[in-house]
Symmetry: C2
Subunit: 674 residues, 2 copies
């Protein structure tokens, strides 16, 4: 009889011969099979559960009998009695291989498993987190062999898990003695391994075997809003999501005004740094509370942001980003102590990872979008637009990926719009204008009905949000209320009393509850603001298309929380994005946030985006003459688009000019869409 | 004619063939020759000066003509004109090898040179500092190839000096942009390479070529005093030395009372941490000011201290150190940011290195003494005693080294002594008592004359310091003023009115200026305090000797600032140290401070002591029954020592007992030493 046995692991297919009596966990490690274990083989964490297969395996030429594994032992019986073990399951650290056997590693026993979550996004989340919980039993101090508590802990982690050269920050060291004694020298260590050759770090220590998972924060730090997810690091599920306004808004609505603030006010940059760090800390605390988890178990944070926010968060002077050559102080991915950027209270040694910046105007948020959308993996040509105060644009396919940013300003977010407001209950978010009567109907956030439905009731209408203003302007164009140059016609020209003169221009009244309530209008100034914003966005996309040598793209992805709410049709009528078949326009939701979560859950994602960012071709719009040309050319709101045709279903053309009191041209009857 | 040439470097003897036209610096690097360069071969730093040898070298079978090196070029001519080049010297980065040649690398051109300084100690200081100044020219930002300032700096350092994977703390990053632009993209980077496999770190950046050296701090953090040296990191010279009281004294004179304070007062440990960090920062600033150097050029600090001070400095709870098993929170050497322990303002990324602790009672200060004295390198058996509030004792030779500590208390430092005071002007530091007349004469700090010399004058005598009380007690024993048990005789028993009754015991009056001035006496309580202290010290030494299996040592080294002031003869009369020939007793001065400087100047010293500390055999006195036995047995002050004989040169024995009014025995005439 042979002294060793064949073991075949599924689903990996890894196989090899091991000495009889070898525990399944040991065999798995020896063969490089991904089998989890927190307790290092002590039979208490149950993470190493396996499902041995018995019977005939003709493919492998094997018959496996029950004697192939050692009998269920006392540890397993006790575990099953107290916690319950699924039928057919064994603990990999207890079951020993006694004969040829096929062993299945169920998905939940794999460390690097793929987990599909329905909640925050439908993303397949690869799990390979940098920080893992590791249970160890630490030698007690012995005055005859004096050594430090930390050194004994490190020795235990090296022995059980092969962790070499463990490092601990003072903040972690200071709590070590208490936790070790509280746990009776049995502790769960949260150990961070960046995977970049740097020393493993002790991030936190918990008494005894920690049953609950460790947590991480994925933070999308925008100019206007800060959004965060609290994620369980065992399977990537999102336990809480929250957002708040970036308190830096009081120093300037857009990035360039914040850079100016830093330039003009000594200590201004530091003031903004403190403001954003305070807000992020508050968000972290709120997320932990919302999820009902102990903040001390939050061991990592991943932050994505644009370059100016990046510098302001890190305490770096952003002034160079406000002028050519837009030099970054540092652009590579950063591994930091979370406390260095004021992220507290988390685990005492919590780490922070900041995705790499792409260029002086193209940030880590865009890198996160690139990570999430991965255009470099596709044959077809994707145009990915992250709409924000500064739009970041990616264009690419398997051959190459280009990136640029475009200064759209905050109009798309409802700022600098006369009746504009942030997306909040009461804000008009959708609108249709009848091309014959020029009468609008609309929906507001927090109400499921259109305004012409009796069920709409009489809610207070507070203003118009970003997606609302885009639809309004597009509908005004379709309905012939404004001409291709963006000029709003007079009541006479358009044929509706909703067009009201204000000085030398006109505004279109969507809703009027004055004098007791709000009046929501679209002014000529609003149209101009939207025209500037959309021209900038379009010009950026066109610039990349020129660089790529193409006249059209295969698909358009609208990214960003805001992008998710834009009507693609209206965006195309406006000319925000290049013309493409409507079905080829998709929303990626908060792709930057998704990319941040991916980087939080998997070191492989960090390596991937760090490498990809180096490959992305960066185009600087600010100094590119063609950008100005495209920008000027894109100012008009034409009607030669597929979207226009589909939305308007016109039989005759809408007016081409309201200039100098000219009568509307072609203002005939139109058939409204279905 | 051959295309390559033989080059032989002296004094290393390293040799090899290089292609003709190779610069001497390049050849040196290729052959592993230690030739300095700050500017990376740009001919501006002059650190790479070499002295080529011309003529016949029969040993090498070579004749070297002037054509063996390229002619002096414009860069060298300019350097010689402006700064002056010693005759025969060439710049290694400019001179090219054109034929077989012998090249001498003068000591000052070696990075790892040995430098002998006379000032702070006569130590040969090996130079191999962790932080080096490196001059680089950094690529300017290019918006078409966007990258961070830091990344371009790191690329330049990698290209010129092979620095890979450079890391920078945020505090360093935040000043980068300004310095790079101020220096016109030419900067001197202070780069720290711990040599332990961790990433190199950018510690500071200076505009242009920095001519002045970088600096480091060596700090000996004692329970009572904090002493610091500011050291130039190019040659190890001490530019300033200073000391101050440890402000923790207000929480407890000795270590155990501080541990008690931490135990009894919530937040007490933190209070003490803040106090000592504040004092160290103040000392750092004072040293920089005294030396007249910019604190921003202080790039490193090395700290040595006992375990309790270690924990209190690092913010670790010291309570475990107050009770068996005296468990350290962490004992290994630590690499920290200086700012983490409050050491500021230094260079923004300044590093701190803390020597390893040896055991719960045997600190990094003792490790520094072990580094400085290196008993493991000697054939003879050394007993090294660092006298302080807690004495740390090493015993060893090439075979092995043992260590322990002994709780002597502060009596040796003049504390807990009735007329005791710290060593300061006016304190009695030396004393002799005439064995016949029992009259004392003494010297005080700040006065070069004995008190019986008319030149002594009438200074104010303020008290007695540590070395003074040791001499006083020993002299009292020799003069028959007290008996071997330590009892002071009465005026009648001793035969001098200087023995005055105080209650049931007597005191010996050294000086009495009352009622208008101080009265300096040695009380029975003082004798008891000294007896306890010396018994503890002796018992510790004996315990190590037992462990080593020896009855005597070959030499005794008294370490510590205080040890330098102790009279070895009196110490032996007291029985502080085992009996040994007087000439075998030496003072090592502030050996802990010297060890700290060695670790500051050379990474090799750090590696050496880290390895040695692991080899040292630790003996815990607190639980060792033999320690108590030795302690009790050592209480008496016998007279059977060589030192006694030499000091007293007695012909008859001094009194053996003043018990119960017994008459002095053998109190006959004695001949005073010459």
């Amino acid at each position: 009889m042979s002294d060793d046995a064949l073991v075949i692991f599924t689903p990996s297919g890894k196989r090899g011969r091991v000495a009889k009596g070898t525990p399944v966990l040991t065999a798995a490690r020896a063969l490089g099979v991904d089998l989890d274990s927190v307790c290092g083989g002590r039979g208490i964490c149950s993470k190493c559960q396996v499902a041995p297969g018995y019977g005939d395996f003709p493919k492998h030429g094997l018959h496996v009998g029950p004697e192939a594994l050692s009998p269920v032992n006392a540890v397993e019986e006790r575990y099953d009695r107290i916690r319950g073990l699924k039928p057919g399951r064994r603990l990999g650290c207890q079951a020993r291989i006694e004969g040829d056997v096929v062993i299945d590693v169920p998905a939940e026993s794999q460390v690097h498993r793929q987990v599909i979550r329905k909640s925050a996004s439908e993303r397949v989340m690869v799990m390979d987190p940098a920080t893992r919980p590791l249970y160890v039993e630490v030698a007690e101090p012995d005055m005859h062999e004096p050594s430090g508590d930390f050194e004994r802990l490190a020795a235990a982690l090296e022995k059980s898990f092969g962790i070499k050269g463990l490092h601990a920050d003072l903040a972690v060291l200071s709590g070590l003695q208490t936790t070790l004694r509280k746990g009776g020298w049995r502790v769960t260590a949260a150990v961070h391994e960046a995977g970049d050759g740097s020393a493993p770090r002790l991030v936190a220590l918990y008494p005894g075997l920690r049953e609950a998972p460790l947590y991480g924060l994925a933070i999308d730090l925008g100019s206007t809003t800060i959004a965060g997810h609290l994620v369980a690091l065992d399977d990537g599920r999102v336990l809480a999501s929250s957002g708040l306004m970036n308190p830096q808004i009081r120093f300037g609505e857009d990035l360039m005004s914040r850079v100016s603030y830093a330039m003009m006010n000594p200590g201004g940059a530091q003031e903004m740094t403190e403001a954003v760090r305070g807000a992020m800390a508050g968000l972290a605390a709120a997320l932990a509370e919302e999820a009902g988890v102990d903040a001390a178990a939050v061991v990592e944070a991943v932050v994505v942001c644009n370059p100016v926010m990046h510098h302001l968060l890190l305490g770096l002077d952003p002034v160079e980003l406000g002028q050519a050559p837009f030099a970054l102080a540092s652009g590579d991915a950063l591994h930091l102590q979370a406390a260095e950027i004021g992220l507290a209270p988390l685990a005492p040694g919590a780490r922070a990872y900041i995705l790499p910046l792409i260029a002086g105007h193209v940030g880590a948020d865009c890198a996160a979008v690139a990570l999430s959308e991965a255009p470099e993996t596709r044959e077809d040509l994707s145009l990915i637009v992250d709409v924000g105060t500064n739009a970041e644009i990616l264009l690419g396919n398997k051959t190459r990926v280009l990136a640029c940013s475009s200064p759209t300003g905050p109009a798309f977010e409802g700022a600098q719009i006369s009746s504009g407001q942030r997306a909040a209950p009461g804000a008009i978010e959708r609108i249709e204008i009848d091309p014959v009567t020029k009468e609008p109907r609309f929906r507001i956030i927090g109400n499921d009905h259109w305004s012409d439905d009796p069920a709409f009731g009489t809610p207070t209408i507070t203003g118009i949000c970003g997606s609302g203003i885009i639809e309004a302007v597009a509908e005004m164009r379709i309905a012939g209320i404004m001409d291709p140059s963006g000029l709003i016609g007079s009541a006479e020209q358009v044929g509706t009393p909703r067009c009201v003169a204000t000085g030398r221009t006109h505004e279109y009244v969507i809703h009027d509850a004055s004098p007791d309530g709000p009046r929501v209008t679209v002014t000529q100034g609003d149209i101009r603001a939207i025209q500037l914003a959309k021209s900038a966005l379009y010009a950026g996309a066109r610039l990349l298309m020129d660089e790529m040598g193409v006249d059209q793209v295969d698909r358009v992805v609208l990214a960003g929380a805001f992008g998710a709410h834009i009507s693609p049709k209206h965006a195309m009528v406006l000319g925000m994005i290049p013309d493409v078949a409507l079905e080829a326009v998709t929303s990626a939701g908060n792709a930057a946030g998704t990319g941040a979560r991916m980087a939080l859950c998997a070191r492989s994602a960090r390596r991937a985006i760090e490498a990809q960012v180096k490959r992305i071709v960066k185009i600087e719009t600010a100094i590119e003459p063609r950008f100005q040309e495209h920008f000027v050319a894109a100012n008009a709101i034409p009607h030669a688009t597929a979207a226009f045709a589909e939305l308007a279903k016109v039989v005759t053309l809408p007016p081409v000019s309201f200039n100098a009191g000219g009568a509307p041209e072609g203002g005939g009857r139109r058939r409204r869409r279905g």
